[in-house]
């Protein structure tokens, strides 16, 4: 490692910079007339005009001098920087050097180039080498002969699929995706109620395959499930099917390229897939919530790998889900819902909203069991072709809700044990009453999906929906 200079002038340059090439004669001139040390970032033979060049291809000196642009000219006095300029600007160079008449044949000024030590990938390595990362997590060394995937699986970090190894470089880049302090605690993750710091969440986001720009959405999703109202401990521990379903609204959807259209609930979009997976890895790794341990799910559901999608706000005639939940239009937000697999609603004949509502209602009424009422909450993912029917008829979302609550009532006598030849049911006599399938506020509608197909989806909720158990939670996505 090179010694940091103490006195005189210091120049930092690289050959791959036309402005540095331009200033090479000036540097030669300065080397003759003053005490000058030239550090070269890429090619130790550059500049040929100076004989006493110093190789800084390791970029240590550049990093310690916090060089951002080359060429940079610095004046030091007893090791202390007293002046600096960058790029080529004759007056500036003459001022810093204290020497007049520099580069008479050169143009007056030229902008410099980006320094090598701040290139992505390089800056992280330098911060690690100089122990400047501030990362608090334990370092785990994987031997050269070990397979890092196997090492991660053996430690129990994986949901069963390969992981992106969370190296310090990757975690640092991930943390660039947020302005939050890496040590800020977002909440306590059940079951062990361990603090979820931004850093720990970033590590899991790396493993899940997130890009840094996804991190604010992951943080908002974690914040949402850790809200007391969501009851994450119970959602994890229940024998039922549920896991967190993440719905993303607002500007962030398009900024990070989420899919709200064809196959919105399926595979193929990195942001949809990685954000939902990161949330599950946070529960697993920070909270210690693992299947067949505190996660007592009988079957679970495939969405417990990842279950995240965006609402198609632009195509919808209705207010987005986040606006229903009190946020401003366009404001980035996530809503989490304790839900399970998808039940399709196929209706290719209804052209009137009344008929389509009845279709939805009959499909909704069988959730869990045709004899279960009041039942769990439900999230309706309305396809564009179904939404069009309501749009053409001028129905607001509020009117659709109103109609569905009205239609989702079941005669009490159909719900008692033994009715319809089914032992399942309620013990209490309910003859003559109509029982609501859903609690007030228990239905949610979002629009998503491809342009073709009169197929919508119902995502059923947890049997413990509502204040006694889990209610959907919406949080703003903050940078």
């Amino acid at each position: 490692m090179s010694e940091t200079p103490l006195d005189g002038l210091v120049a930092v340059v690289k050959r791959d910079c036309p402005t540095c090439e331009l200033t090479a004669p000036v540097l030669g001139d300065l080397a003759r007339r003053a005490r000058l040390q030239v550090y070269t970032q890429d090619d130790p033979s550059f500049p040929e005009t100076v004989s006493a060049r110093i190789d800084d291809t390791a970029l240590d000196i550049s990093h310690r001098l916090k060089i951002e642009v080359v060429p940079t000219l610095i004046r030091l006095d007893h090791g202390r920087e007293i002046d600096r300029t960058y790029g080529w600007d004759r007056k500036e160079w003459e001022r810093v050097a204290g020497i007049a008449g520099l580069g008479p044949n050169l143009p007056d000024a030229r902008p410099g180039c980006g320094a090598k030590n701040i290139e992505p990938g390089v800056i992280e390595r330098l911060r690690i080498r100089f122990n400047e990362t501030g990362l608090k997590s334990r370092r785990i060394e994987i031997g050269a002969d070990e397979d890092d995937q196997e090492a991660m699986h053996e430690r129990g970090w994986s949901d069963g699929l390969p992981l992106v190894p969370p190296t310090e470089e990757r975690v640092l880049r991930m943390l660039d995706g947020t302005l939050r302090d890496p040590q800020e605690v977002i909440g306590l993750v059940p079951p062990i109620l361990a603090p979820a710091t931004v850093e720990k969440i970033a590590i899991n986001a790396v493993m899940a395959g997130c890009k840094p720009e996804y991190l604010p959405t992951v943080l908002a999703a974690v914040e949402a499930v850790l809200d007391e109202k969501f009851a994450m401990h119970g959602v994890l521990a229940t024998t039922m099917f549920v896991g967190p379903v993440v719905i993303v609204n607002g500007a962030v959807r398009r900024r990070i390229g989420m899919n709200a259209k064809g196959n919105a609930l399926g595979q193929g979009n990195r942001a949809n897939g990685a954000i939902g997976r990161a949330l599950q890895l946070v529960i697993r790794n920070i909270g210690g919530g693992r299947p067949q341990e505190v996660d007592r799910a009988t079957l679970g559901n495939p969405g417990k790998w990842t279950y995240c999608f965006a609402e198609d706000e632009e195509g919808s005639c209705w207010e987005p889900l986040s606006v229903e939940k009190g946020l401003q239009p366009g404001q980035s937000a996530v809503t989490v819902f304790a839900g399970f697999g998808l039940q399709g609603v196929v209706d290719q004949k209804s052209r009137e909203p009344e008929s389509l509502c009845r279709s939805f209602a009959e499909s909704l009424k069988v959730l869990f069991n045709v004899k279960s009422a009041p039942s769990a909450d439900a999230l309706i993912v309305m396809s564009p072709e179904h939404e069009r029917t309501f749009r053409n008829a001028g129905w607001s979302k509020a009117r659709v809700y109103e109609e569905l609550y009205k239609l989702c009532k079941i005669p009490g006598e159909d719900l008692v044990m033994g009715a319809k030849g089914i032992a399942e049911g309620t013990a209490s006599p309910r003859a003559g009453t109509m029982v609501d399938k859903f609690r007030p506020g228990g239905l949610m509608i979002v629009r998503a999906g491809g342009g073709a197909g009169m197929f919508s989806g119902i995502i059923g909720g947890w049997s413990s929906s509502g204040p006694r158990g889990s209610t959907p939670v919406t949080k703003e996505v903050r940078n």
């Binding site: 190296t167 361990a194 119970g234």
Partner: protein, 91 residues
Amino acid sequence: MTVLLDPTSEHAPTIRPRLPRPDKLDGLTIGILDIAKARGDVFLKRLGERLGERGIAYRHYAKPTNTRPAPLPLQQQIATEVNLVIEGLSD
């Protein structure tokens, strides 16, 4: 060599051994905890009656909801008032 950052909480939860089972129930007070699962109260009420018939002291407790861990004050109350606990886990 690759250096990875630990994605876990780095906490090692304390594993405490269960108390030994008592040889007999005479002289002990039993807590009966209803975790608020359907019909758990019916089963546990009957259990209390049977314990009473055998002259065994018992106290009933109830969680407000089965969806969340028992509130800490309830856990502490049970720990100070009884010698062992029976709880109905599911419906």
